[in-house]
Symmetry: C2
Subunit: 157 residues, 2 copies
């Protein structure tokens, strides 16, 4: 098994490969996410979307009629922080807010046709950006990664 216990210069990089830290899943997850996130951000910025607003638009698109507190639950964020995001999506004509007749405290969120189309286009761009980073990761490894991450998440529910 390849293991580097040589701390001196190795291959040009700014040194430092840590094993104790590198063996922690949380650290590896964060590092991997840090590579992907900026590229996703850049791809979404072309359509004036942030990662969080894209996530909202995406879930609303696939779950027409969802209300804000449910959306907050789904994204594990505070419903108070959702307000301005939905405000913007609504102002841009991407989603609609409609009072639920049976419970007038709640607003049913639905993506407009324009919203759904934007979501599809943006998702495609993010996918392309991700694929470029994934590089040599073949389909089998990708599928396995996704399955394990999903399982990891499910284990905590």
């Amino acid at each position: 098994m390849p293991q580097t216990d040589d701390l001196s210069e190795d291959r040009g990089g700014p040194t430092v490969e840590d094993t104790v830290l590198g063996d922690l899943i949380g650290y590896r997850l964060k590092r991997a996410y840090m590579q992907i996130q900026p590229e996703a951000q850049r791809a979404l910025a072309e359509d004036d979307l942030r990662v969080v607003s894209f996530s909202c638009l995406s879930i609303i698109t696939d779950n027409a009629g969802i209300v804000q507190s449910e959306l907050a639950d789904a994204l594990q964020m505070e419903r108070s922080n959702l307000v301005v995001i939905i405000d913007e999506l609504e102002q841009r004509g991407l989603v609609t807010r409609k009072k639920v007749p049976t419970d007038r405290r709640r607003y049913a969120l639905t993506a407009t046709l324009r919203g759904r189309r934007l979501r599809d286009r943006a998702a495609e761009k993010v996918r392309t950006a991700e694929d470029q980073i994934i590089g040599r990761l073949d389909d089998k490894d990708r599928a396995h990664l996704m399955a394990v991450l999903q399982r990891l998440e499910d284990n905590t529910r």
Copy 2:
């Protein structure tokens, strides 16, 4: 393959499983990290460490003599944001700052015995916390996950 296209109530949870979003690696990575991070945070808080200060202490421990800008590179963070963190680690007697004789602009960082011991203890706690979340993930899946995440990260360098 198991695929849910039923959007109605499934098993008590607050609904919502999105496929377009859920098929993005960035989203899955973030979700998985969101499950792990709070537990790691809680484990580290017992020793008055934050994730970032633990990461610093850990890298310094394994790379005695590293200077701040190298550490910033290693953790992919701004060196300006490192200052207060190292300040605190130094004040707690966990690391030392020593001017490098050959280049007096730089400070060599080294973990003290107490720092190294704290790192080892804290790492063990985080590991335990992670293992509890990982649950049924067996050694093979864990190893494969780590390898793929590492590869994913390496692909971008």
